[in-house]
């Protein structure tokens, strides 16, 4: 049984096209929850998931890295603050900031996004939701930047629905940085409808200047397989909008048309 099979339901792998040679690392920290789901999403997106361990500073020659959701180190100190100093992060920071033609694509989901802000790979920070409640619901997002390795297969301003579940999800950033993010089109995902948490400018996800590092609070990896995703027009739990994140990065890595 592979590490990313679902806990319940049909655990046979769907018959799909042969896997590409895109190897995508998924980091596990103490307290990570969604590494198995992220690995499965990579596989469903056509890539090969590779488990990475927080205490190992080697990335084992992966082509991209996902920092999944959860509560690394129990959210002690601040969400993501201690995970940011793990050995694997030292290597990820160097590779993500490399001045080469193609720096390492990195995606941070939820707690992974918080880790990326603590590591200064992405600007801003997260504080508690303005209503102070843990939220768990399906959330509509608008994809506003399709130039990143992780969003290349979306259409501009496409609306997607993916689950969201967090307590520290309110994105805060100073005025000057906010203007820069907006002016440079670095808001990748924006909440649609009533704000779920009080984030500045309804920001759900941002990217760095090079466009290789993306972080978002909602969970695309939980919306990749019909029967297990959000409700959509085709039926209950049928939503698979999140899958495009993973097919995008596989396509970007294998030189497919974006």
């Amino acid at each position: 049984m592979s590490a990313d099979t679902p806990l319940i339901g049909d655990h046979t792998m769907p018959e799909t096209a042969p896997l590409t040679d895109a190897r995508i690392g998924v980091v596990t920290f103490p307290g990570t929850l969604d590494d198995r789901d992220a690995a499965r999403a990579v596989r469903l997106g056509g890539g090969t998931p590779v488990s990475l361990w927080h205490a190992d500073d080697s990335l084992h020659e992966v082509d991209a890295v996902i920092l999944p959701g959860g509560f690394s180190y129990g959210d002690y100190l601040r969400a993501g603050a201690i995970a940011r100093f793990a050995p694997v992060m030292n290597t990820i920071i160097v590779e993500a900031e490399a001045t080469t033609a193609s720096p390492l694509p990195v995606l941070g989901i939820c707690n992974g996004f918080q880790i990326l802000t603590e590591a200064h790979l992405l600007p801003g920070s997260m504080i508690k939701n303005d209503h102070l409640k843990f939220i768990c619901r399906d959330q509509v997002l608008r994809v506003e930047n399709t130039g990143t390795a992780w969003t290349s297969q979306f259409t501009q301003d496409e609306l997607i629905t993916v689950p969201m579940k967090n307590q520290d999800g309110q994105y805060v950033v100073d005025d000057a940085t906010l203007s820069t993010l907006e002016d440079q089109g670095r808001v990748v995902f924006r909440y649609v409808g009533e704000s779920p948490n009080g984030s500045r400018n309804d920001i759900a996800g941002v990217t760095n200047e090079r466009g290789n590092v993306v972080g978002l609070m909602p969970h695309p990896e939980h919306a990749v397989e019909a029967g297990y995703g959000p409700n959509d027009a085709t039926g209950l739990r049928e939503g698979t909008d999140g899958l495009t994140i993973f097919t995008s990065v596989v396509s970007s890595l294998t030189g497919g048309n974006a």
């Binding site: 100190l77 603050a81 920070s125 508690k128 209503h131 805060v172 100073d174």
Partner: protein
């Protein structure tokens, strides 16, 4: 045993949701004289032996680079307490 105290507060311009919730709850117990609450953190760094200037400087660096996040928090003070 000497201890270095580090105090961290949310930046004034950042909304403090926890402080706001506490402020709203205070009147429930009749504490009506307070117009607002902000909640911060206090770290106690224990030291074996003497607190040298070098150690204090190291605590200041830790406070700035790890114990606080400058995007949302300010280090309010780094002080030495002889007896806690």
């Amino acid at each position: 045993m000497p201890t270095i105290l580090v105090e961290v507060m949310p930046k004034p311009e950042i909304l403090d949701p926890q402080g706001k919730a506490i402020a709203n709850a205070l009147p429930h117990r009749g504490f009506t004289g307070f117009s607002g609450v902000r909640q911060g953190k206090r770290f106690e760094l224990s030291v074996d032996g003497e607190v040298t200037e070098e150690l204090l400087e190291s605590a200041r660096t830790a406070a700035a680079e790890m114990l606080s996040n400058p995007v949302i928090e300010d280090v309010v003070s780094v002080t030495v307490a002889e007896d806690l």
